[in-house]
């Protein structure tokens, strides 16, 4: 052993070492103390802060959408129901390589190029969603296949969701409307908290109008998730409350019958109970199967073009000139104002001319009707007679009177997006067309042409007021609500009570009865079975006007889209009306030939077959 360890220099070195060692240890002790203080701050002082962070890390709030209310017809037949739908979803935020996932799915099940393309389109359109559907409506076999490969791909999942089913498909489409995916536009107006995790929302029709009732109350779930977002267990559950079921006034048997009768046409037909405003049937054609729409997020544009605006609800949005169906009201107005003696015959030639004007207002009957009284003018739909009445009434008077029958304003039916139509007046023309009202405008308003536009629902509504002899029932689809008559309605009823005598109503209704039941009535040939005492009025609306030079119309050579609209309003039985029907058929020809027979068959069907079951 060396002795150098005891040398003077060595002792110095040892001292130096001790010194250095002490310095290092001191530094390390200071650092350690600092660390401990730091740990104390983290774990004890800021515990709450980090505790919250840790909980938000692992706990996820999931909202569980409620079951949507079921929609029934008046006899508790299901019109809209929920079914389970299995879909392949790709979480675009979690997925590492979407193309790989799609390829993997393609190996397992049949996946068309169309589905893949539509997925990519949806990715852009619905970028605010995490998950986008790749394929819907999977079979159980397909579900099993995808579940077996799911664990290999982050973001790939099979989800079960409630699907809205409409068993009567296109027959009820326009009146029920449909649900659809919540899009960016919907997001703006709805309660995001309530609709979190909900895929569908009522888009049109009853589904939209009663969205709040049908939707229900969502539940929630607190689930524990791991760092990769996989759900591990439920911590807390609040169950969802199902939406309220809806009982409609529709009778699906009648609805089916109406759809069948209208099947080959474009247009709308509405059946309504005048006593209480209940809509018994309401069809708009063409129509499409709304079930398809849910899976495809929209229609094939080519298909839409092929059909004539199948998404357009003609019942409440289609605007048509009321044509001759308005004549009973013009007559009633003239009686009320003592402008005519209903039993006095006047001469009705081939045309009407205003003083100081060369313009000829032709009758539909080229040779004219000859001597006619009011009854005959309605029964044969004599235009010249009504040109005269309109000219005598003036636009202001007519406009005010029509207003009482709800023309120019919404009927107040429980459906969204109802149109108000156009009630022509001096003010209206100035504001919307920019020109002054002319006497010529007044004359053609008398036969429901010109600027006058109404929806089929408005026609049915106005007819129900005639059928009720001045009592008003607001149209409704929900059987369980009572439409309260507001001040405006009560005022209208008061107006009819004070101004129109019962006998005047009878003049009009009996003339309408004769339209169907007199040999020369425009609707006489429309129905053979006259047991139900139907009253009605036809209307033929010109889509293009005849030039002043020619007298003859060559009906054979008119292109389809310029052919006349065929209109009819009717009710029965005339003395105790149970049903009102208004029908508009586009571009087919006269009211007597198309709308009248269909409407009267609907009335007979309802009174003979449907009502018998109750």
């Amino acid at each position: 052993m060396k002795r150098s360890f005891l040398d003077f220099s060595r002792i110095n070195a040892e001292k130096l070492f001790q010194n250095r060692f002490n310095i290092l240890i001191s530094i390390l002790i200071i650092l350690s103390v600092f660390l401990i203080i730091r740990l104390y701050f983290l774990q004890v002082v800021s515990f709450n802060h980090f505790d919250t962070l840790s909980k938000t890390n692992r706990i996820k709030y999931i909202s569980t959408p409620p079951r949507r209310g079921i929609i029934y017809d008046r006899n508790n037949i299901v019109l809209a129901d929920n079914a389970s739908l299995y879909s392949i979803e790709i979480n675009i935020k979690e997925a590492k390589n979407i193309k790989n996932i799609i390829d993997a799915v393609k190996k397992e099940i049949i996946l068309s190029q169309k589905e893949i393309n539509s997925f990519h389109k949806k990715r852009v359109k619905y970028s605010h969603y995490n998950s986008i559907i790749l394929k819907s409506n999977l079979s159980e076999q397909e579900v099993a296949k995808i579940l077996s490969i799911r664990h290999k791909y982050d973001g790939l999942d099979v989800t079960a969701s409630l699907l809205r089913k409409y068993p009567f498909k296109e027959i009820t489409h326009h009146v029920l409307g449909h649900v659809g995916y919540i899009d960016k536009k919907d997001l703006k107006s709805l309660d995001k908290k309530k609709y979190r995790n909900t895929q569908y929302i009522g888009k049109t029709g009853v589904e939209k109008f009663y969205e709040n009732e049908l939707y229900g109350k969502p539940g929630y779930k607190h689930v524990e998730i791991n760092a990769r977002g996989r759900q591990l267990r439920d911590l807390d559950i609040g169950y969802a409350e199902a939406g309220a079921d809806l009982h409609l006034t529709l009778d699906i048997e009648l609805q089916k019958f109406m759809y069948q009768k209208m099947f080959e046409f474009s247009g709308s037909s509405i059946a309504m109970n005048p006593k209480n405003g209940e809509i018994l049937g309401m069809v708009s054609l063409p129509s499409v199967d709304p079930n398809e729409r849910l899976w495809k997020y929209g229609f094939d544009q080519a298909e839409i073009k092929k059909l004539k605006s199948p998404l357009f609800n003609r019942s409440i949005n289609g605007l048509y000139s009321p044509g001759s169906t308005i004549k009973p009201l013009v007559a009633l107005n003239s009686i009320k104002n003592n402008l005519i003696d209903p039993y006095h015959e006047i001469y009705a030639g081939p045309y009407f001319q205003l003083p100081d004007s060369p313009r000829r207002f032709r009758d539909w009957k080229p040779e004219g009707h000859g001597m006619v009284d009011l009854n005959r003018a309605i029964v044969q739909s004599c235009d010249v007679y009504f040109y005269n009445l309109a000219n005598n009434l003036g636009i202001k008077n007519m406009s005010l009177f029509f207003k009482n029958f709800s023309f120019g304003s919404k009927t107040g039916i429980d459906m969204p997006f109802e149109s108000s139509g156009v009630l022509p007046s001096n003010e209206w023309k100035k504001k919307n067309i920019g020109y002054k009202w002319t006497d010529g405008d007044t004359v053609i308003t008398g036969i429901g042409q010109g600027y006058f536009l109404a929806t089929p629902l408005q026609l049915a509504y106005a007819t129900s007021i005639i059928a009720n002899r001045g009592l008003i029932s607001i149209p409704k689809l929900n059987k369980d609500i009572l439409k309260k008559k507001d001040k405006e309605i009560l005022e209208k009823e008061e107006f009819f009570k004070n101004n129109i005598k019962t006998k005047d109503w009878e003049i009009i209704t009996s003339a309408m009865f004769d339209v169907v039941n007199k040999q020369n009535g425009t609707a006489f040939w429309s129905i053979r079975n006259k047991n139900n005492k139907i009253a009605g009025k036809t209307g033929t609306v010109q889509v293009y006007s005849l030039s002043q030079e020619t007298d003859e119309r060559d009906d054979e050579n008119i292109p389809d889209h310029l052919k006349d609209h065929s209109l009819y309003v009717g009710f029965a039985p005339v003395d105790d009306p149970q049903i009102v029907v208004a029908t508009v058929i586009e571009n087919v020809g006269s009211g007597s030939k198309f709308a009248a027979p269909i409407s009267n068959k609907i009335i007979n069907y309802y009174l003979d077959k449907v009502r018998k079951r109750y």
Binding site: R20, F47, F50, S54
Partner: protein
């Protein structure tokens, strides 16, 4: 037999504490690996191996160890070169080589071998003070292995090895004027290193340390999740196997770099204090051994090992609570991994060997 003063482990308290902390390490590893018993068994096997290695080393006379120091150093340099050419890759770095079926990270063991080599070199002429030549050679000894480690690339470990070497030179009696020169040189060289030497990922690591929230899902994610784990532990912790941050895998690198965060989350501030107390016992015993060491080589080596041990703990804990960048320093005796365990037990073997000479 193993506690026999002449052949085995002589300091009973140090010995027992090491065993306790090691077992604690296995326990927390069980939780950190989501109750993966296989990993724990494997680590336990390594532990037993290292334990016998410690006994083997401690049975050597310290002067024998001193004589073979340069050979051990030479071997480690050789292994580093092999690592560079035949090592296997993990996460973009080549740090490991396979020896007899074991995966070895040579740079880990350098943390002990380098001080050993320096202690040997500085005690060659122990009666002369450290002049410039001696200092230059010392730094050569330090930078030779570091140059290989940087190549791997592993900046974190390089820095730690550099610190280990500096500690040894400092304890070996470097002149105060030299310290000032070196510090001055560092101030000049450091910015140049930042510009030319650091790889982008290393710069990013250091930058996210300064502001972890700037990249909450990237490099900052580790630091944020680790801090949440430590902070949400509270005073008594969430309980064994109940740490949500670690069990639900929000915390990355749970077994290795962030094992402290797992421990802190499940056992809280109270548990940490117990752990630190155990570490303190080990450290106090090491200081005792250092002070009682009979020769210059032993003193420098024991002092270096003591300081490095504390330094590693401080570095790892600072990483876990976001005070230092994530440089890949393990927590002594607790972290998963054979190489760090090997170097720690190698160091304790040396400490026991020195103690027997007291």
């Amino acid at each position: 037999m193993i506690l026999n003063k002449n052949i085995g482990v002589s300091d009973k308290l140090l010995f027992l504490t090491i065993i306790i902390v090691s077992l604690l390490g296995l326990t927390i590893l069980y939780s950190a690996t989501n109750e993966n018993f296989d990993v724990v068994i494997r680590q336990g096997t390594r532990l037993i191996f290292c334990f016998f290695l410690m006994l083997f080393i401690s049975s050597f006379d310290i002067n024998r160890l001193k004589i073979i120091s340069p050979y051990i150093y030479g071997t480690s340099i050789f292994l580093l070169i092999i690592t560079l050419f035949w090592g296997h890759d993990s996460k973009g770095a080549t740090r490991w080589i396979m020896i007899f079926g074991f995966s070895l990270q040579v740079s880990e063991i350098l943390k002990v071998i380098l001080p050993m080599m320096l202690a040997w070199f500085l005690s060659l002429s122990e009666d002369k003070e450290i002049d410039f030549t001696k200092l230059a050679i010392s730094f050569l000894i330090i930078f030779l292995p570091i140059s290989f480690v940087i190549k791997q690339p592993d900046l974190g470990t390089s820095l730690i090895i550099l610190l280990c070497g500096i500690i040894s030179i400092f304890l070996g009696g470097i002149k105060r004027t030299h310290i000032i020169y070196i510090f001055g040189l560092f101030v000049v060289v450091a910015p140049l290193m930042w510009k030319f030497l650091l790889l982008p990922y290393q710069k990013k690591r250091i930058l996210t340390l300064i502001d972890p929230s700037s990249d909450p899902l990237g490099s900052g994610y580790h630091i944020i999740q680790s801090k949440i784990a430590v902070g949400s532990g509270g005073f008594f912790g969430k309980g064994f196997l109940n740490g949500t941050q670690s069990q639900l895998e929000f915390l990355p690198e749970r077994g290795t770099d962030f094992i402290f965060a797992v421990f802190a989350e499940e056992f809280g501030f109270f548990g940490i204090m117990i752990l630190f107390l155990l570490y303190l016992i080990i450290i106090l015993r090491c200081i005792h051994i250092t002070q009682k060491a009979k020769n210059y080589f032993s003193k420098i080596l024991a002092g270096s090992i003591t300081c490095i041990f504390v330094l590693l703990i401080i570095t790892n804990v600072s990483m876990a609570i976001g005070l230092l960048p994530v440089v890949g320093v393990t927590l002594p005796l607790l972290s998963l991994g054979g190489s760090s365990l090997l170097s720690i037990f190698f160091a304790f073997g040396i400490m026991f060997s020195i103690h027997r000479r007291v």
